[in-house]
Structure formats: C-alpha cells, structure tokens
C-alpha cells in the first residue's frame, strides 16, 4: 500500500507531456482508446463500459455519464452533438483549465469516443474567453489531430467521422448550466430554460445533445485504457474513480490535487495541503463554489463522495476547495458568494433575480451591524424558498453558502445581529482598530502602512488612530511587530 494520497487519472499527462505535441500524447497510448473502440466495439458496448465504470459527471451534478450518453443515443435527431463544457466559472477553481492546458488531446479523444457512442458527428468545446492559453493549446491540438486523421472524416479508416470546433464564452457563470450554455453557443443570451426537455432530447439547435465537463471527459480515454473494472475498483460504493480539486485559500500547499473518491477532507487539507498558513486554526472548507457550502471542522473525517458532501449541506461541485482559517468571517463569506450569484444571475426568474438580491441585501445589512434577529429567520426562510422555486441550478443552489454557514456557524450570525460584533474582525463596520499605548514603542511602521494617513504620533512615542478617518483596512494591524494594535 502506497503512502501517497494522490492518484492521477484525469491529470495523468498534466505536467508530464508537452501539450503542444501530439506525438508525446500518442507516445503515452494517446488515441489508443478510440482506436480500439472503432476497431472492436459497438456504440452500445462503449456505453455499457462507461456504465460499468461508474463514472459520474464531474461538473457538479454527478449524473452517471454512461446513462447520459445512452439517452442521447436513444433519442432520434437529424444531427446530434457532443459538447464539452469548459466554461469553468467557479471562482477559485482551475481544474479544467489545468487539464486543457496540460493535456488537450485527452479531451478531444474523449469527445470522439462520446460522439461514436451517441452517433454524433460534431463536437463543440465551450470555453471561457478568460483562458487564452487553454484556447491556444486546444487550437494547436485540434489542428494536429486533424492532420493525423484522428479528427475529421473517416477516423483511422473506420468510416466514423467527427469534427470539433471551439466556441467562446464571454463571462457568464450561468453558462455552466447546460441549457444556458447551449443558448450561448446558439448566439443568444445565456439564459437557461426549464428542463425537461433535457439536452439529450432537445439540445443544441433542438437536436439530441450531450454536455460533459472537462474533467469527466479526461477520465474517459483512461477508463478504456485501463478497463472499467479497474476504474470502478477505485473510490466509494456510489462514487467511483478520483476527483480533482483545486486546493486554495489559507492552506500551505495551494495546488491541484487528484485523490481517490473516499479520501477524507482531513487528508486533503492537512496531509496533502500541508495545513493552514501561518500556523492558524482551521475553520472551514468550502466546496462546490457558489453552489456549495462551508464544511466545519467536525466533518473533516467524512470521506468525500457525491452523497456524503450533499448530506452535510455542501456539494462536490466542479472541484473548487477553499480552505478558510480562523480569521475568516462566515457571514462575510456567505455575503461574498451571494454577491457573486446576484452578479451572475441571468435575471430570468423571479426567485433568483429578486430573491437572491434580497438575501444579499439582508447579509449586507447584517455585516454592517444593522441586522436583526428577525432578519435571520427571514434569511433562512427565503433561502429555502429560493432553493425550491428557482428555474435553474444556479438559482436553486445560490442560497447554499448562506444556509450552510447558518447551519454550522449560527453563533457568528448571532454575534453580528445581537452583539453587533464580528468575531473574526473582518466586517469593517463592526471592527475597531486601537493602539495599546503600553505596547506601542513608536516605531512608526503602522503610520507608514496606513493608506488613509490617519495614524499620528511622534517617533518613539505611542501612536494614535483617528477613528473617524480609519478605513478599517487592517494594514496597521498587519504591519505592527509588537502586537500593539488590537482589533475588536
């Protein structure tokens, strides 16, 4: 048994091969999966194999990939489409970018496999315009694949043809939702529509369409190369294989990690992540981005899979994992995410357009010290109705950061509304910086650091903060080497 906690399947070529050279990909059995499939397997075999592998969508929902392909295969249409969702919009997540930048051919190969399985001849990669390097490398990869006859007409002499085109996002988080994404590819505003009909029935240009996320696809060729049984032997009962996480925030080893499903949060944060920066205490780990929730310390030993994360009020999401230390204000974090979702709401449905706006406004009120206990009741009630009533996944999951922080960190909310204090000292309206005259030696560091120039005092004499001018940025607090500045 290895002592190593990480296992790379989706990332197996990242950081190993030159992504701009197809030969390096081929040297590592690249395009062998599709070659074997085209030579030996029927589309039904391919779907069966994927079902057997237990692969589930890595974009967040966790829908079984084999089933998804089967639906699209069974639905009739003049044309069918495969879409790769590379609109990684979760702030603080970069799994998909890394795969696209490090191993673009694996995505192309996977799309051809999916195309063969459902009987589609065209694929689109919907990628954020904010990822210029990934776009560049994909362009090169597509060009090379065409050159070698691994894309285009009559792939490897099999008679099967498949084309891939890039489509660019333009900065809309909601386009991660598949119906919104399809609207965007069609040249429309990225507003989602109600499902059903699902894309597998009526997708791009009303044709059966399968939308898969980048990481899901990165697993596909690997599954055929190593065999579905082997893949299915990794992970937990309901969640097979590995999951890539973008580990970020107040953790020492910020980075991209790939672990077998079932690894615990503790292993990721402390063993792989090397613990909290600055030796501070752990407070929470946020998974699932703006759709997910904050997981407190008591769940650090929960083995990660789709179901267990959902049970504790969060979700797998696409793999953003933000570590928060003891200095993090959970109300502020909830407000941050709500600000994000209200900014990114498409504005179509009432629940999200106005509902989430009202949630955000209530949180703003609370962080400004103007909240009441009644607001907390309303916050929870409205949050739950929005979850129940919104049109799409973005709106339905938007209240999660509020609801999960309320569930686990209710005392912080209470402190904000009842005692009018921010325990973490983050919410500036509730924070006061003061200089302890006994400890201050008059080194002037704080005065120099202050961007508002509101600290005065002579050299070697205790300094003072002009509270009216203070912008509560905390620069002085960070600058002081003598613990002379207190935050309350």
């Amino acid at each position: 048994m290895s002592t190593k906690k990480q296992l790379r399947i989706a990332l197996k070529n990242c950081g190993v091969i030159d992504p701009e050279n197809i030969e390096e990909y081929i040297a590592r059995d690249g395009y062998m999966a599709i070659a074997n499939i085209l030579t030996e397997m029927t589309p039904e075999d391919v779907i069966e194999e994927l079902k057997k592998s237990g692969l589930r969508g890595r974009g967040g929902g966790g829908f079984p990939t084999g089933l998804k392909l089967e639906f699209a295969r069974k639905n009739k249409g003049k044309k069918k489409y495969i879409i790769c969702n590379a609109d990684e919009g979760d702030p603080g997540a970069f799994m998909d970018r890394s795969i696209l930048e490090g191993d673009p051919h694996s995505i192309l190969e996977a799309m051809v496999i999916c195309g063969y399985a459902v009987g589609a001849g065209n694929g689109y990669i919907y990628i954020r315009a904010e990822y210029p390097l990934a776009i560049e490398r994909l362009k090169i990869a597509i060009k090379q694949a065409y050159k070698y006859g691994l894309l285009g007409k009559n792939i490897l002499g099999s008679g099967f043809s498949f084309d891939i085109e890039l489509k660019y996002g333009a900065g809309a988080f909601v386009c991660g939702e598949e119906t919104a994404l399809i609207n965007s590819i069609e040249g429309n505003r990225g507003e989602p529509h109600f499902k059903p009909p699902y894309p597998a029935e009526k997708g791009l240009w009303d044709m059966p369409t399968t939308v898969n996320n980048v990481e899901t696809l990165a697993n596909v060729p690997a599954i055929f190369n190593m065999g579905a049984e082997k893949f299915a032997s990794i992970g937990t009962k309901t969640s097979k294989g590995t999951k890539v996480f973008a580990l970020a925030g107040n953790v020492n080893n910020v980075g991209l990690v790939e672990v077998p499903m079932g690894t615990t949060l503790r292993e990721i944060v402390f063993d792989i992540g090397g613990g909290i920066t600055g030796g501070k205490g752990f407070k929470a780990v946020q998974t699932g981005g703006p759709s997910g929730g904050c997981i407190p310390v008591q769940f650090l030993d929960v083995p990660i899979d789709y179901e267990s994360l959902r049970e504790i009020g969060s979700m797998m999401g696409s793999g953003g994992m933000i570590i928060m230390d003891e200095d993090t204000c959970m109300v502020d974090i909830a407000k941050y995410y709500l600000e994000f979702t209200t900014d990114e709401s498409c504005g179509k449905c009432t629940a999200c357009r106005i509902g989430n706006k009202r949630l955000f406004e209530m949180l703003e009120k609370i962080t400004e010290g103007k909240g009441t206990e009644e607001d907390l009741v309303k916050l929870k009630e409205l949050g739950e109705i929005i979850k129940d009533t919104s049109l799409c996944g973005l709106g339905q999951s938007a209240p999660n950061p509020v609801l999960s922080t309320m569930k686990y960190f209710y005392n912080e909310y209470e402190a904000h509304v009842r005692d009018k204090i921010c325990p973490a000292g983050i919410c500036s309206s509730l924070t006061k910086f003061e200089i302890n005259k006994d400890k201050c030696i008059g080194c002037t560091l704080c005065a120099k650091a202050c961007p508002a120039a509101c600290i005065s005092g002579k050299v070697r004499e205790p300094h003072e903060i002009d509270q009216d001018k203070c912008i509560k940025c905390g620069a002085c607090y960070k600058a002081c080497k003598f613990d002379a500045i207190t935050k309350s």
Binding site: I185, R189, C346, I471
Partner: protein
C-alpha cells in the same frame, strides 16, 4: 480623418472575419469577440454593423452584448488593472487590494480615471489561485500582491516598463 481611416480598416478586417466564420447567428458571440479585439470595445456603430451583417436585430445583438460581462460598450483607459476576486484571492485579502486601489485612483471598479489613463476591473478568477491575491496589470500577472505593491505597479504601468 486619420481615425476614420483606421476605423474603415477595422471594419474591413471584421468583414473578412465574418466571411471566414460565416454570417450566422451561431457565430454572433465569436464575431463580437473579434470586434471587441479590433475596436477595444463595442460601440453602437459596431454593434449595428454586426447586426446588419448577420441579419439579426440590433436589440438582440445589444441584448447579448449587455448580458456577458466580457463585452463592454465603454472604452477602457490606457491601462487596465484588474483585481482577481475569485474566492482564493478573496480569502487572501483581494478586497482590501481593490478598496485600496479604488482609493488611490479615486474611481470605482469598472470606471476609468478622468485623464483616461487607468481603468479598474474586477475579475472572477483567472485560475492563478496559487499566487493569490492576483492583480493583472495590462495583461501582466502580479502574484501575492499586497497593498504596498500597488504604487510600484502603477509606476511600472505609467513608465511603460514591462
């Protein structure tokens, strides 16, 4: 005069691009990307031009332009400073940086200084979370930025040193 000629050339280039990708509704967003690359922003004339070239209503083109945050109808300043507000940067103090920058330049996020020199933008994660907090100044990524670094970044931009 000179500017007109410039614009004419840009429209010609846009024409060439539209011809290359095809004047269909499905290529609208791609064409708008190209137009923004060429003109720096998407003024009304450019949107109307695209609308007529593709045979789709101006309202629809404008609806798309205003939906996506990547598109802008307002010209940006000479230098664009973007603060990443992704979660990784946020928990590492990106909002302090943004506030300090706004104060320094006397403008709010999304605005341009009166002299047209600087524009402040906030971004949703550029994927450089390992370097959080991140500031991007005219395309150059500055990692692990602190409030104190901002002056240097601004000076660097103004002096044109890259």
């Amino acid at each position: 005069m000179c500017e007109n000629k410039f614009a004419e050339e840009k429209f010609r280039e846009l024409d060439g691009f539209i011809e290359k990708v095809g004047a269909s509704e499905g290529n609208l967003i791609e064409i708008l990307h190209k137009a923004q690359d060429l003109f720096g922003y998407l003024p009304k004339e450019v949107q109307l031009y695209v609308s007529r070239s593709l045979g789709i209503s101006a309202a629809k083109v404008n609806g798309v332009v205003t939906f996506y945050s990547y598109f802008t109808e307002i010209p940006k300043g000479k230098h664009v400073i973007s603060v990443c507000m992704g979660t990784a940067c946020f928990v590492r103090g990106a909002s302090d940086i943004l506030v300090a920058l706004e104060k320094k330049l006397g403008i709010k996020t999304g605005q341009t200084t009166k002299d047209g020199k600087f524009t402040i933008d906030s971004l949703r994660c550029v994927g450089a979370c390992g370097l959080a907090p991140v500031v991007i100044a005219d395309g150059k990524v500055h990692g692990r930025v602190e409030v104190d670094d901002l002056d240097n970044i601004l000076v660097e931009l103004e002096s044109g040193v890259r």
